[in-house]
């Protein structure tokens, strides 16, 4: 069989435009008539379509959550503010002193901003650190029970959260998150958010965004990204409309638990962040590899 693509140098270009949907309507109709009439052309077109399908199957599709996670991590490492939407009360809970907040609000001078942390702030940081450590311990126990021991490097430690953001006002957190989602946060029955934090010690790892919460006395991870339902082991995911929901859902369904694996959960516990992308997005969840 002669190599048709060499005999007709423009054929591949036309197929390329046709498969990319870039042919003008008249040209498209004409090309489709040719396709129907010329078996060689039809075979070549099919081969190219198979090639495209194969490549698209091979290259992972759902990277939107990863993109947002990488963005947030990059901001953190590069010194840009990772969280811009904490309310004043949340900032207080985060250990930020009133004087510092007021100073920031009134655009004080650099000299005033360099005032060392107050004793109150230090105390708040210690408390928050201890809370994170306690959560880490109980968290590790939870997953040790259900999934077997985790490597120590994967466990959350107090020093792995930066900045340490502890928030005791669960309702307020829920409202903040709901306002970003544009819909009520779907927590498991009896669930509440108890912690919001970001890991800073995994410079080369894809990060996950999540909220550690409680459900029926158990700690769970809420993933604020795509639609899914609560799992038998207590993890839950809330819904967020996005163009990628279907693709993500299909990826989710390929996983054993139906949602995500716990192996990566603790190691990638991180913060949620709202992104001002064209489609407002709270990216989240577990991006483990």
């Amino acid at each position: 069989m002669p190599d048709s693509s060499r005999e007709q140098p423009d054929m591949l270009a036309t197929i390329d435009l046709y498969l990319a949907g870039e042919l003008a309507p008249e040209a498209r109709e004409e090309f489709e008539r040719c396709l129907a009439a010329q078996p060689v052309l039809h075979a070549e077109c099919k081969a190219q379509r198979d090639l495209i399908d194969s490549l698209r199957r091979a290259v992972p599709a759902a990277t939107l959550a990863l993109a947002a996670a990488q963005l947030a991590h990059a901001k953190l490492v590069a010194g840009a503010a990772p969280v811009t939407w904490l309310t004043a009360d949340a900032a207080t809970a985060n250990g930020q002193s009133k004087s510092r907040r007021h100073a920031a609000a009134s655009k004080v001078t650099a000299g005033e901003r360099s005032v060392p942390p107050s004793g109150r702030r230090r105390l708040a940081l210690v408390v928050a650190t201890a809370a994170a450590l306690l959560l880490a311990l109980s968290y590790s126990q939870l997953f040790t029970k259900s999934q077997g021991p985790l490597p120590p490097a994967d466990l959350v430690s107090a020093s792995s959260f930066s900045p340490t953001i502890a928030q005791s006002e669960a309702k307020q957190l829920e409202m903040m998150i709901a306002s970003k989602l544009g819909e009520p946060l779907k927590l498991p029955v009896g669930g509440s958010i108890v912690y919001l934090g970001v890991r800073a010690d995994l410079p080369s790892s894809p990060l996950g965004f999540a909220i550690l919460a409680t459900s029926g006395g158990k700690q769970v991870v809420i993933q604020l990204d795509r639609c899914a339902t609560a799992t038998a082991d207590g993890a839950a995911i809330t819904g967020h409309p996005s163009a990628d929901a279907t693709r993500w859902k299909s990826e989710v369904q390929t996983r054993e638990t139906g949602v995500f694996r716990h192996e990566g959960t603790v190691g990638t516990l991180s913060i949620i962040e709202w992104s001002a992308s064209p489609t407002p997005l709270i990216a989240g969840g577990i991006v483990a590899r």
């Binding site: 591949l12 490549l55 993109a67 990488q70």
Partner: protein, 185 residues
């Protein structure tokens, strides 16, 4: 002369998310490993944020970021090669990894075709893809997977449109020939 308002930090987020997929494919085409591609884009984002004030407003973010990604990816590849020379190939080394997309699928697809045949075909496509050079591979991925037009590919890879087009056409022939020789006859 038209005045372009300077881009500010929030614009970086929007642009980064908009072009992330293409940037990731550029990284993948150089490092040929999805995990490394993740790391490359992550590192590139940090670098880009740190020097975002040097980005000239009104120019192409895609081109600017694409160059950073390519540089980081090449450094990454050099680093990996150095490590391989020093320590040897790791036991779990693989060229392009495809997490979860193959192993978790049903053996029968919606049309009742045995997936093994499809996977063998996909494997051959990927193997052939690895035979291409970086730029050709990037052109193929950006055109066939991401669906960018040649102008966009030209921007992100800093090559002329005609070069991008000829890379895609030539690579398509190479890939098709490799596949035709084995299964599509």
């Amino acid at each position: 002369m038209a005045h372009h308002p300077p881009l500010v930090q929030p614009d970086f987020s929007v642009e980064f998310l908009r072009h992330h997929r293409a940037l990731w494919l550029v990284a993948l085409s150089v490092v040929a490993n999805t995990a490394d591609a993740d790391d490359v884009v992550q590192e590139a984002a940090i670098i880009a944020l740190r020097k975002f004030d040097t980005f000239a407003a009104g120019t192409s973010f895609r081109a600017w970021m694409g160059e950073i990604v390519r540089n980081v990816a090449r450094n990454r590849r050099r680093q990996v090669h150095r490590e391989i020379r020093r320590f040897g190939q790791p036991a779990d080394a693989h060229a392009i990894d495809l997490p979860g997309l193959v192993t978790a699928r049903s053996p029968i697809d919606a049309l009742g075709t045995l997936r093994a045949m499809q996977e063998a075909f996909d494997d051959r496509v990927l193997a052939s893809l690895l035979d291409l050079d970086d730029t050709a591979r990037a052109c193929v991925l950006l055109r066939l997977v991401e669906g960018l037009d040649y102008g966009q590919i030209s921007q992100i890879l800093s090559i002329p449109e005609g070069t991008a087009m000829s890379h895609v056409f030539r690579s398509r022939r190479v890939l098709a020939a490799a596949l035709t020789g084995s299964s599509l006859t």
